[in-house]
């Protein structure tokens, strides 16, 4: 039998929620362990085997000078590098500081900020090293993660669609919260993957999976604003877990500062 592919899981600035989704694979965990060698996964296993690794899963954003050096090292160690979650793929919720002065943010959080070494911006892994695949979500979906590992093991493309959350609402038969209740929902501009959980419970999509392919945010927020949703509310909608993802970032800037296509 050929050698099993070696899997490593790394963490940067993050809440660990995506790593927990790996552990949450439950029934699939044994199957994963059978097909890949879990060589490095500090959250789950104290034993750590040295690289190189076939698959590297990276959680978290680049937030400190030390992170920059460490991700370079990890990239060198991993044949196939996958970022998992909104922090690693877009900078995460902590990227909200990218619109603030870093010294003010650090000073407001820490009693002795002199010991804190923090970069001015929280940035996605792909701004620092080439990434082979980005798995979206806050947190990632366990099913998509298992599909991704399966695809890498088998040697085919993963089935991770880039279409909108609306597709998942319609598959589930969920009544559209925008059309039937007038709620400003980010679903038409957000990538599917979560199974459209929030609209199924009568709430708007919060954009956890980041921008869908070719999102038309100007049209979407323009329609909501025309229908009565205040602009600051719309700006907050795109300024969350994926605020630094370029499509959401530019739309947030446009809504907050009136810059962009249809600014008054």
């Amino acid at each position: 039998m050929p050698k099993k592919p070696r899997l490593a899981v790394f963490k940067f600035a993050s809440c660990d929620g995506c790593q927990l989704q790996v552990l949450d694979a439950q029934d699939s965990l044994l199957a994963i362990a059978e097909r890949v060698e879990i060589a490095h996964f500090p959250e789950a296993r104290s034993q750590s085997l040295a690289g190189p690794y076939d698959i590297g899963l990276v959680e978290g954003s680049i937030s400190t000078p030390a992170d920059i050096a460490r991700i370079q090292e990890i990239r060198r160690e991993c044949r196939f590098l996958v970022t998992i979650g909104a922090c690693a793929t877009a900078g995460g919720i902590q990227a909200l500081r990218n619109w603030c002065r870093i010294d003010e943010v650090v000073g407001s959080v820490y009693a002795s900020p002199v010991y804190v070494e923090s970069l001015a911006q929280s940035t996605p892994i792909s701004e620092h090293v080439p990434v082979d695949f980005e798995l979206r979500g806050c947190p990632i979906d366990t099913g998509q993660l298992v599909e991704l590992i399966t695809a890498v093991v088998i040697g085919r493309q993963p089935r991770v669609p880039r279409h909108s959350v609306c597709v998942e609402c319609k598959e589930a038969g969920t009544v559209c919260v925008t059309v039937a209740h007038g709620i400003a929902c980010l679903g038409p501009a957000t990538q599917a993957g979560c199974g459209a959980i929030c609209p199924a419970h009568g709430r708007e999509c919060f954009g956890c999976y980041g921008p869908a392919e070719q999102p038309n945010l100007v049209s979407l927020t323009g329609f909501y604003e025309h229908r009565g949703t205040p602009r600051p509310h719309l700006a907050r909608l795109v300024r969350s877990f994926n605020a630094w993802a370029p499509d959401f970032r530019h739309e947030g800037d446009r809504l907050e500062h009136g810059t962009g296509a249809d600014s008054p």
Binding site: R35, C166, V167, E171, T178, V179, P188
Partner: protein, 389 residues
Amino acid sequence: MLPCTPAADSLEWLARPALQALIDALTARGHRVVGPQVADGAVVYRDLADVNQLPAGWLDEQDGGHYRLRRDDAAGWFDHVVGPHSLKNFLFPPREPIQRLVREDGTWREEPAPQEQQPLAVIGVRACDLAALRVQDRVFLHGGHVDVAYQARREKLFVVAVNCRRAAATCFCHSMKCGPAATHSFDLALTEAGNRFAVEIGSERGREILSALGTAGLLTPCTADEADRVRTIPHDLERTMHARVAEPGVPRPRSLDTDGIRDLLYDNLEHPRWRVVADRCLSCANCTLVCPTCFCSSVEEVADLSGDDVTRERRWASCFTLAHSQMHSGAVHATVASRYRQWLTHKLAGWIDQFGTSGCTGCGRCITWCPVAIDLTEEVAMIRESAPP
């Protein structure tokens, strides 16, 4: 009261509460009965056990990107029109395993196909959706390839149609010559009048089940005069729809000029309007997913980690996604403008060449359920208005 034996060309009265007996009879014959119900702010299809679940006294207000229910105690049981669901959700489900292969000791074997499904009965189907059923039948049954799963469900389907007494502003079945009168593809058709239904037979199975209700003493015959009056109800509505005009403060009543529409669209593939609509279009795919005739699907292989258990799954696909036209060197329809054009020209023009009929039945769902209120009747009108001679 003497048992009433229904005849194909006559109408029978069924008291409204006695509709329960029809649900019970269908259930007793092994059907899963589905009917319209209010849920999450809309009238949707759900499993129906009791007539009290029906949306009695609810009306729907529909406009571009807008759907609201309101109470009206004068409204009947079926005076709402179409909601986001259609027969497509059941006959052509969003996800369906079509084959499963399992590898044991290096040998592949095919697992038996899923058990035959329970026959379905749907109550409350409107004329536009009967037309859509006919369109999907053409695609799945009468083309070069018969879709066996669709066929199995379709053959057992029992349809209780309802003649519309009311139209939403988004309804334009009158333009597409698909309604509002139910004239085909049903087993029974109901017309609500006062506190009873006039029931019409559309098939032998319909006659059989209605006879059972007659034997139970639940039917009374319509007189010739009554039958004439009932039959004019949807036709009166159709006349009203043709006469509707836009008024300030209320949603614009839709209609679509279909005269020469195939050539109109083919002759205007480079019309600037496609770019105008693309500025608004989200390519979210909602229009195609609520459309009762859109039939695109993709087939994906879903494997477990070992690669020894592979299910081939058919899923709804939409021409608004990039994946739909993905080829070896990228998406053929790479821009939103080209995707919107692809959808509209196929629906209203290409369909005529392909299937001998329009792909649109005038149900208006794509208008109502577009999050930004894009309206195909408006897009066609704009192209027609400014088309070069």
